[in-house]
């Protein structure tokens, strides 16, 4: 059994926050969840960075294999997802830093910023991949 202070035997039950599923989804809440999901995705995405670097330090064949997999259509889809996650998490992170200084906490600004994070991350991902294909071409 869980042994948290909310349920420890002999203690008065502590108030728990209501479960996530009873709230109506709102933009700030969705962006908060997405910030956590993108953080988790980037966490595992660092494996790709490690693979790329280790391959480049090993041999031409190893590097060719990594590039072949990452350059396949499925690899490119994953990399597009990685790029979007990084842009989204970066913009969301800057939003957190702004909040930490006490600004932009009111409801309307926060909602606007939530939408801006989403729109900004999509736009920057698009620009990044246009640049990739222009440079790569």
């Amino acid at each position: 059994m869980s042994n948290s202070t909310a349920t420890r035997p002999g203690m008065k039950p502590r108030p728990l926050s209501p479960h996530l599923s009873i709230y109506k989804p709102i933009p700030t809440m969705m962006m908060s969840i997405v910030h956590r999901i993108t953080g988790g995705a980037l966490y595992f995405g660092m494996l790709l960075v490690a693979w790329w670097l280790v391959a480049a330090s090993t041999s031409e064949d190893a590097f060719g294999l990594a590039q072949g997999v990452m350059g396949s259509w499925i690899g490119i889809l994953v990399l597009i997802g990685f790029t979007w996650a990084l842009w989204h998490h970066l913009l969301g992170g800057m939003r957190h830093l702004l909040w930490d200084t006490g600004y932009a906490m009111d409801k309307h600004t926060a909602t606007t910023l939530a939408w801006a994070t989403l729109a900004g991350s999509l736009a920057l991902t698009l620009l990044t991949w246009i640049a990739v294909f222009v440079v790569g071409a």
Binding site: G40, Y43, V49, E60, F63, G71, L86, G93, T128
Partner: protein, 127 residues
């Protein structure tokens, strides 16, 4: 076993990941550093996209690139270790499983970091 701690002592036990606000602060500091470093990393991937083996290695061997990429790797791993500790503390309530996952989290970061840094240094020193 009876809990002999006073409520105050429990609060001073620094919360469920045993780090108190140190975590919070660490994530903030690394976030600030990661803004420019992530932009650099995105630029680097763009700049090397589609380049061959030798070209990519030459790029990675440049001291400025190697140093900045090394910083990106080290600071990202520190950031994501603290971030994942927070996620584990939020969702995992059993003490045993929590300890195991906190350990795996640390091992993951050390292995990924060790691999990245070894590879970077090997390329930078011409191996």
């Amino acid at each position: 076993m009876a809990d002999m701690q006073t409520p105050l002592r429990r609060v001073r036990g620094l919360g469920s990941a045993r780090g108190g606000t140190a975590h919070f602060w660490r994530v903030r500091v690394t976030s600030v550093a990661l803004v420019p470093l992530s932009l650099f990393a995105i630029w680097l991937v763009l700049a090397t996209f589609g380049s061959g083996y030798l070209e990519t290695r030459a790029m990675l061997a440049h001291p400025v690139v190697a140093i900045l990429l090394g910083l990106f790797v080290v600071i990202t791993l520190d950031h994501m270790r603290s971030g994942m500790e927070e996620i584990i503390a939020d969702y995992i309530h059993g003490e045993g499983l929590k300890l195991v996952l906190l350990m795996l989290n640390l091992f993951f970061v050390l292995v990924v970091g060790g691999a990245c840094l070894f590879a970077l240094l090997k390329i930078a020193f011409g191996g």
